[in-house]
Symmetry: C2
Subunit: 212 residues, 2 copies
Amino acid sequence: MSINVLVVDDDKIVRDSMKIILSMDGDINVVGTSSNGDEAFEFCRHNRVDVALMDIRMPVCDGVLGTKKIKETFPSIKIIILTTFNDDEYIVRALKNGASGYLLKNISPDKIIKDIKAVHSGNMLIHSDVAKKIGELLSLEKKDNYSAYNLKNNEIKIMQLISDGYTNKEIAGKMFLSEGTVKNKISDILRKLNLRDRTQIAIYYLKGGKLK
Amino acid sequence: MSINVLVVDDDKIVRDSMKIILSMDGDINVVGTSSNGDEAFEFCRHNRVDVALMDIRMPVCDGVLGTKKIKETFPSIKIIILTTFNDDEYIVRALKNGASGYLLKNISPDKIIKDIKAVHSGNMLIHSDVAKKIGELLSLEKKDNYSAYNLKNNEIKIMQLISDGYTNKEIAGKMFLSEGTVKNKISDILRKLNLRDRTQIAIYYLKGGKLK
DNA sequence: TTTAAAGAATGACTTAAGTCATTTAGAGTG
DNA sequence: CACTCTAAATGACTTAAGTCATTCTTTAAA
């Protein structure tokens, strides 16, 4: 029971070399190659594919969209996104669409083979560089970010409470301060972060301390 | 160059059986066992550990906290969270703390061994069931949720703009409405969602339409 | 035609938010 | 002791937010 692999990349050299590399392993059977997401989807409709190795930047139909199409119709096909880029946007979108792996191209042949097998056995596999990004995307390192704006613990506490939806009076009650002091502190926060009002503070905070 | 593995679980039976299972593989060397996160941290300070298999629910110091402690002092040690539970809260917290893998306990011995090797080689590995959760956490079908409250497209659009930090006047300009109308519509939204003010709307929206 | 129903607008009103100058009190430093 | 820094508070003020009753359409239904 070998693993049927489809290679999807707009670059013919990559397609061919990938095919050669993967064919070195007895368990892997490269059943075809496609040059964009649409072709890959068509191929899947007419052939049995277990794992698709998918480039992300391709003309006509990119890897994200290709993943979506294939996954919608053939949820059992595992998709590994394979790219030279390390782009936040792509990671999230591809994972949302059901990609099972996210590997960088500069990886050794035997590692790719191992990874294909891991994904085929049902796991989700993410390259360590990419994994770091995901950690960040799951909102991380808030404190470092805040300290860059010289925010005090007190002020961060107020940001949290604003982001929980409390009024100034409620915040004052919880922190044993007067309402006026809370207002003043909010003014300080707004100045430091260059924001306009409490709603923007909540947005800023909930998005993990990243502006814009 | 075998992989030095530490098994962390409060249940002695799990510890022992895991040790036996892992020792069947020539590349894996179980160097020790601990019964909670603190013990594991202490063990890491005195022994060379490559990979720690960590249960999540343990007395004294649970797996999430254990991961944090170990990762802070020994970032090169890979940690695999191993649990019978499939809990959103834990997943995110453990990943934030730097866990490299998240596996469910009902997994075959040879698969655990494979996974340990995959993690040791630098990848992040997530069990497919857990991966689904992450996908949900990253995306979240907002629209279904909103329709439950009879929100109109217009009102959802206003929610979006509030959550981008705009004032009523700016929203009015973007939607070609008067400021008064925007105010009225916000009152409608607040009534439907049982919220108090625009900040709570933004919080509600940014958290994916989940109240509480 | 009458009658609703829904979208947008207006004006008057109340209140929470945010700004700012100023004051007070404690803690540390020279 | 005088000096400085900081945290907290106050009061007066401006403005954005939110509520509500009412009006004016337009569209659709009876």
